[in-house]
């Protein structure tokens, strides 16, 4: 106990009074609403403020709700499709813009790639609404193509970031070494550059996937009738009074995001391999 007291009174250069307390409170405030949200998804009764016992009935209700099933599958399909396209396009763009020295038009390319990050989603959303409405009138096409294109464009900057970051850490000497060891440019790309880019590409895909899955505003303005995704479905439901079924859906959604974020975290942390 004495040792403890001595340790506590020792001068620490990193200590600032009150900071630790505010930080801990911030973490609590950050997680408390989510924890409560998750907890009441297991509530026996319909109340979201009074605990009435453990039950999985709201999960059952969610699984049996054909509309929830529909919108979830559509969301997953859209996220996989858009993230795949975005990853391929972002990989090509990263190869064209990273470690190649400055070239004319580079700034414009950067600006275009990052533009979806700068412009508020609501502005992109109504811009797409106007554009899509005009095309619909011209072509009569009302399929998922609009959503795929919109989500792909929106995911490109997110997929581009980790791919570019990964590529930047690659030493040019590695490709020089491959060429020195009789690899043709294509072989050097196939055996050295591409395998080393894989973590970045995977991370890019995951980011794109999560972003597409989260996108609500753009989807809301681009979708045609019957093209609700999970987020737009939830947005519509939140206006009414909600049951713990919504908590159950949100919890499952959270779990999926958490899994992907964890995987992303580990992939981007594993360096040098």
């Amino acid at each position: 106990m004495m040792g403890c007291a001595v340790a506590r009174s020792r001068f620490s250069i990193t200590r600032l009074p009150g900071f630790g307390l505010i930080a801990i409170l911030t973490f609590v405030m950050l997680y408390l609403p989510i924890v409560i949200l998750v907890a009441f998804s297991f509530n026996e009764g319909i109340s979201q403020s009074r605990w009435e016992g453990f039950s999985l009935q709201w999960y059952q209700a969610a699984f049996n709700n054909s509309q929830v099933r529909d919108v979830s599958l559509r969301s997953l399909w859209l996220a996989v499709t858009a993230a795949s396209f975005a990853t391929i396009l972002a990989t090509l763009a990263a190869l064209g813009t990273t470690r190649v020295g400055r070239f004319p038009g580079q700034t414009m390319i950067y600006a275009l790639i990052n533009q979806p990050l700068m412009v508020p989603e609501i502005v992109t959303g109504i811009a797409l609404l106007i554009f899509v409405a005009a095309i619909k009138v011209q072509t009569g096409y009302t399929g998922m193509g609009y959503l795929v294109a919109a989500h792909t464009a929106f995911c490109i900057p997110f997929a581009y970031l980790p791919i570019r970051a990964r590529l930047e850490t690659l030493d040019h000497a590695l490709e020089a070494a491959a060429a020195d060891l009789y690899a043709s440019p294509i072989q050097a790309f196939r055996y050295i550059t591409l395998p080393l880019m894989v973590p970045g590409i995977l991370a890019g895909f995951m980011l794109g996937f999560v972003i597409s899955l989260d996108t609500v505003v753009i989807t809301e303005f681009v979708k045609s009738a019957g093209q609700d995704t999970l987020p737009t479905y939830m947005l519509g439901q939140l206006r009414r009074s909600v049951t713990p079924e919504m908590n159950a859906i949100a919890t499952l959604f959270l779990a999926l995001s958490l899994m992907i974020v964890t995987a992303f975290f580990f992939i981007t942390r594993t360096r040098g391999r």
């Binding site: 030493d171 020089a176 070494a177 491959a178 060429a179 020195d180 080393l196």
Partner: protein, 363 residues
Amino acid sequence: MSQEIEITGLNKSFGQGAAAFHALRAIDLTIATGEFFTLLGPSGCGKTTLLRIIAGFEEPSTGVLRINGKDVTGLGPDKRPINTVFQSYALFPHMSVAQNIGFGLKMLGKPKSEIKATVAEMLQLVRMEAMADRLPSEISGGQQQRVALARALAPRPRVLLLDEPLSALDLKLRKEMQSELKRLQTETGITFVFVTHDQEEALTMSDRIAVMSAGEILQLGPPQEIYNAPVNRFVADFIGDTNFLRLRLRVKAVAAGEAVLELPGGKQASARLPASISPPVGSLVTAVIRPEQAEPTPAGQGEMQAVVASATFFGTDTHLHLLLDDAQGFVLRRQNRPDQPSPAPGTKLGLTFAPGALRVLED
């Protein structure tokens, strides 16, 4: 000996017009088969650019490069019988040690059995058999160095290029790898072209050294010649420690390549005078003496008189900083012996030096 590498009239410049930077100027150079050849110079002197041109990573602006008599000037690095050990080693981080070593053979389309046998042989050569399946990130810096060597040697190149391969290692490991490199070169008989800025490394390992500065080769020759007979002030200054003295030329050409200089204090001494320069009699010239080639004598004796200004202890020897009669500085290196304490500041002593130690240099 046959000529392995032949470089004629090679120039390299980056950029164009007035802003162009001339990295290499008018390089003519031949390197013999089986030679341990070193390019030595400070950073920015063009030695790495020259190495990269030999490897094929850069193209010369003008000039011709022949390897074993064949013009390879336009060929890419993948088409030259040359391998490189990179300064950063550039080991492929996603491949095991064995895969790294076998990469060149795989790219050459060699059969699997042959690759396996050669990799085993190379692992043995660099004493890394136990590490075959490790990743580069799982072995030490010295071990990475060995793998880089084995990888470059595995395709049995005619020439091995080494770009400051020891600079990332600590002193002890560096000494060890120096003798290891020398052993590998003798065992394989491959021509080594070695780039370094470390003059001691160059002197101990090389058959011949090219001293470079500002894109030009200043002097080319065996280590002894470079050390004992530097052609100009830059070489003398860059290789080892040297005392530079401004002395008056009294007599020219007593015999071929000799002159008589007036020392501080008025005595005269003979000095070597390179045939390439011809200063007028009576003018001031730059002369050099290595610190270990002068010896102290009791005061009043010897060629020059000096006062001790300070002494710096270096373990094996002590550097005495002296002031000569005409106030020029002079460093004298004296081996330390327990029975000979270094003289206190203010002590007067004389200096003598062996014939041939004093040389006149081009400025």
